[in-house]
Symmetry: C2
Subunit: 176 residues, 2 copies
Amino acid sequence: RRMFPTFQVKIFGMDPMADYMLLMDFIPVDDKRYRQVMPCPPCGAQYAFHSSSWLVAGKADPATPGRVHYHPDSPAKGAQWMKQIVSFDKLKLTNNLLDDNGHIILNSMHRYQPRFHVVYVDPRKDSEKYAEENFKTFVFEETRFTAVTAYQNHRITQLKIASNPFAKGFRDCDPE
Amino acid sequence: RRMFPTFQVKIFGMDPMADYMLLMDFIPVDDKRYRQVMPCPPCGAQYAFHSSSWLVAGKADPATPGRVHYHPDSPAKGAQWMKQIVSFDKLKLTNNLLDDNGHIILNSMHRYQPRFHVVYVDPRKDSEKYAEENFKTFVFEETRFTAVTAYQNHRITQLKIASNPFAKGFRDCDPE
DNA sequence: CCCTTTTCACCTAGGTGGTAAGAT
DNA sequence: ATCTTACCACCTAGGTGAAAAGGG
């Protein structure tokens, strides 16, 4: 499924006439597997779900194939990338290790850090030699998240129902 | 609206590593304006519509702005263009002279010839000088058509209902 | 009379969380 | 008990011709 909210960036400082590739990948935040805690068993599922928090459940599962998502407009000129916010709304996540749709493969119940990479398309013939200096990586720690197959927290569910247009069918109240 | 059927081409002979832009435009086939003929007035509209044919109605209206439609994947490498059929399914036509959606503007009741252009993206600094030799134009006369705002022939209507997936709601019979 | 515009029901295509069943 | 899968109703977004209304 899509990642929501979508990762978006505003870019400055590119060479307007040069070509760039924009891409994202995801690295594990730690070597842990998480699980839900049910702090108040007799109360029933509802309360526990609301107040849920993450507990370490052990060591991480084997790492998934480290796939990469190229922004579909790549390659494009710096001027094109800079003139508006770049949105990675086509990026999709899956837990299916055998996925053949090119989606990003993650382990459920593990924490991930999205990364954003800018690659300068070097016009020189021996451009491979300069690969090291032709890309830059940006990490925004506030975008870290725990991958799940089903929501573990009602506030996350409500936040998504409130803000994702495709979940409009589940809204109770005001249509702002 | 979209042009249907979609203009599609299979490309051979490009340099797999070079960049190309693919685009289309539309030129008038002649300097005429057409109109419907109603060959059998007392019979009512139904029969006349079925057997309709085009009559010259006079000289063409003033030419519309000669817009161009770039294939949205442009620019891309020759290898990319050649590995599958290229489909211009995002191309849209309009009769609105004030259109600001970048659609191709045509005069209704006029005949047009679609043209397909391949532009080699010349990496040389003085590439403008070679513009003349860096593109090639292809014309398929079987793609000529008369632009209309409403269908003038039931067989065209039925052909489109039968073959355009979005018109499935109007099909009477077999769902092949 | 002939053509154009507007609106509409009905599609395609695909993104939501809910829910029940399945797996461990 | 906890997590995953499969399916679903309900959305967004937008491409169809029909039909009625509008224009010259």
